[in-house]
Structure formats: C-alpha cells, structure tokens
C-alpha cells in the first residue's frame, strides 16, 4: 500500500515538475521572441495594407492614420481591430478594414479588405489562416490569384443573392476539394461591406488632427 502511494506521488511530482518547466520554457521563449514577431507582423501588415489599395492613389501613411474598429459581429472580429484610412490631398480615397471569417475550415481566417468611398472593393488580402496547406490555402495571394475575384465587387455587384460560391448558385469561383474556405471568405467580405455601408461616414472622416500627424494642407 505504501509503495503504491509512493508511486502515485512520484508520478504526480514528475507531471508537476515537467509541466512547470514546460510552461516556463514557453513563456520565456514567448517573451524573448515577442518584439521580433510583432515587428515582422507589422511590416508584413503594412505591405498588405498597401496591396489592398489602388496603386499610387494615396499620399498618406494609412497605418499612421488608423482608427480603432470595434469587435463588431459583421466584421467577425473577436478583438477590436483597426481601420486604415488612405487619403489623397486630404480627401479620403479608400479605407482598409481588418476583418475575419470565423467559419473557415480550421478556425478563423483574418483578412484586410480595402473599400472605395462608392462601396466597391479595391482589394482583399488574407493576413492569417490555418486552412489545409495545399488545399484551402489558395486564398493567399502568394499561392493563387483567386483573392482578386473580389476586386471591384460591391453589395450591388453581384446582387446579394449571388454573393456565394458557384456551387451554392453564386458568382464566385472556387477550387474543387476546398469549398468551405472560399464560402467563408465570400460571406465575410460581404458582411464587411455591409459594415462599411452602415458606418460609411465615420470610417471615411478625416483623422482627428493631432500634433503628430501633418495637416492636409502641409502634405505635398
């Protein structure tokens, strides 16, 4: 009996010690790598933001002129995100919203959608996903130009009834073997456009003039 109790105790102690060491190792690595990872994610995001905007159509720094977005259900965001405003000579030319499709094949698909003042999509880029490699990952611009299907689309083009993949009777192409991924993307982009339609004026309002940002008049 005593031996049995000892065995349970050593086993429990080993589990405790290994879990503790594992947790310490993970949190230590997380702390050390955090700044480098954040830095690389930020610069990757800047590049992506620029890709969703009409080339050369803006003269500000959209990442600087960003304003917080609430975690709205239409955007699919679990945490507050950001809206990046692109302007030319002080007038808004597009806004880039952070949004997410919560119902991808393996969890949420985060993306950026650039929207012109008239409600047309200027570009969509996926920023993070866990879809099956080689199957559902064609939503990445690096793997396939599929994501360009959204360019120029709006809530009235195609009609709301056709904001679906072809398999469901809509207008959007998909690749055989992975329908759930594009279905989630099409739905999420449509919802983001609905969010834009409901909040158009506040999203396109010029950024609050702060001491840090140059006023529109002084921008060359």
């Amino acid at each position: 009996m005593k031996e049995f109790r000892n065995q349970i105790l050593t086993t429990a102690a080993a589990l405790l010690v290994f879990s503790g060491v594992g947790a310490a190792l993970l949190s230590g690595t997380f702390k050390i790598t955090r700044p480098a990872i954040e830095q690389s994610e930020r610069s990757a995001k800047m590049k992506l933001v620029a890709q969703t905007l009409p080339a050369g159509g803006f003269d500000n720094d959209p990442v600087k002129d960003a304003r917080p977005l609430p975690a709205d259900a239409l955007l699919g965001l679990k945490f507050p995100g950001q809206a990046y405003l692109a302007s030319r000579h002080g007038a808004a030319v597009a806004v880039v919203l952070e949004a997410a499709a919560p119902d991808g094949y393996s969890g949420e698909i985060r993306f950026l959608v650039g929207i012109l003042p008239d409600g047309r999509v200027s570009g969509v880029r996926v920023t993070g996903h866990r879809e099956t490699p080689g199957l559902g990952d064609y939503i990445e611009i690096g793997k396939s130009p599929w994501i360009r299907n959204f360019d120029g689309k709006s809530l009235s083009n195609p009609q709301p009834l056709y904001w679906k993949v072809r398999k469901d009777g809509g207008q959007f192409d998909y690749m055989a073997g992975a329908t759930i991924t594009p279905r989630a993307m099409v739905k999420a982009v449509r919802k983001a456009l609905e969010y834009f339609a409901a909040h158009r004026d506040e999203l396109l309002a010029p950024p609050a003039p702060g001491p840090a940002g140059p006023s529109p008049e002084t921008t060359p």
Partner: protein
C-alpha cells in the same frame, strides 16, 4: 561507424521506413504531398522536431515515471514544437512563411511520439538523435517521391511554389516536365495520395520479394528476410 549506428541508419531509411513500412504519420503524408516543395518542407520540419524531441526525452529519460510517460512525452513534444515555431517566426521569417502552417501539425504526428516511446526513452542520447534524424529523413524521402509523383501527374510540373521561399526569382525555377499539360485533378486530391502511397508500398515489397528470392536461390539454407 559502429554497427549499431549503421543499423539505426538502415532502419530509418529503408527497413523500418516510417512512411512505407511503419505507415505512421499518414495524415500529413496525404495532406501535404501534393507537390515537391511542400513535401520537402514538411519532411525537414518533421526531422528537426523529431531530433529535438528525441534528444530531449533521451536526456531526461531517467526521471520519467513509467505510468505517466505518454502524457509527459506529449508535453515535451508539444512544448518543443511551440518553441521551434516561435523561434522560427522571430528569427528566420522566410523559412517560417513556408513551414509555419505545418509546424503545429507535427505535434499530432504519431511518428514523433512513436520514436520517442520506442527508442529515445530507452537508448543513449546520441543514438536517439541519430535515430530521429534517420527516421525523419526516411519520411522526407517518401514524402518527396510521393510529392514528385503527384505533382508530375497532377500538374505536369516540378518544384512549383519555390518562389514562396526564395522570392519571385524562383518562379523561373519551376520545371515543366510535360509542356501544355491539362492536369489530372485526381493526383492532387487526397485519393491521389492514397494511390501514390499504395504504388510506393507495392514497389518496396516487390524489391524485398526479389531480394528474398535471390537469398533463397543462393543456398539451400537461405532464408527469407
């Protein structure tokens, strides 16, 4: 090289090859082997994780109570995979872009746990690492051959997708084995992986069969392998 080390190498690459003999780790094998670049990436990432996990387990093997060994192995493997993923993300971004999505998948690959349980928990650290690397390379070999078969049959190319790691320059490195090929979707989809893997297993068994027959013909006391 000691005979033991030679045996470990032969086991990993051929005799006990995880991909076509032990048939472990089939899930990533089938999902990722649709082209050579993906297959090679996943194979090398798995090899790295296996080497680190087996080495770590072999070092602490004296402190692991038998009853709790499986949860502890899983804990060690999962923690190490996450550490490798974080370090790659922070310091070798180009590699992370290609391998990033595969890395968490490796935790669930039973070949890693299998080698830790069957080998690293009983043998010396050095041999454990060697075993893990050889098993990993054996798996990589199968993945690359399967990836090449599926890519040629499915798309008529080799090495497509290399530009993700090396930039747009690598777009020109893609080899078009069959020009103007229409493509065969079956080879790219999961059934193509099953069929391809079946052909590979059959080919290996055929080779083994011929060897066994030759050994038998060699003398009256020859044995089948």
């Amino acid at each position: 090289m000691s005979p033991e080390a030679r045996e470990i190498i032969a086991n990993g690459l051929w005799k006990q090859n995880p991909g076509i003999v032990q048939l472990l780790g089939l899930c990533p094998l089938l999902a990722i082997s649709s082209n050579v670049v993906n297959a090679l990436s996943l194979g090398l990432a798995t090899t790295l994780v296996m080497a680190v996990a087996s080495g770590a387990v072999a070092v602490v093997r004296g402190y692991i109570p038998h009853a709790a060994r499986i949860p502890l192995f899983v804990l060690i493997i999962a923690a190490l995979v996450t550490v490798v993923e974080l370090l790659m993300h922070a310091y070798v971004l180009a590699l992370y872009v290609v391998l990033g999505v595969f890395l968490p998948l490796i935790t669930t690959n039973c070949i890693v746990l299998a080698r830790v349980e069957a080998f690293a928990s009983k043998r010396s650290t050095l041999h454990s690492v060697l075993d893990a690397v050889m098993m990993g390379l054996g798996l990589t070999l199968v993945l690359v051959v399967l990836g090449a078969m599926r890519e040629i049959a499915g798309k008529g190319t080799l090495l497509s997708g290399l530009d993700l790691a090396f930039g747009p320059v690598a777009k020109d490195w893609v080899i078009h084995v069959i020009p103007n090929y229409q493509g065969l979707l079956l080879a790219i989809l999961p059934p193509g992986a099953f069929i391809g893997l079946g052909l590979l297993i059959a080919a290996r068994n055929w080779v083994m069969d011929i060897q066994a027959r030759r050994a038998n013909a060699g003398g009256p006391l020859g044995q089948t392998v």
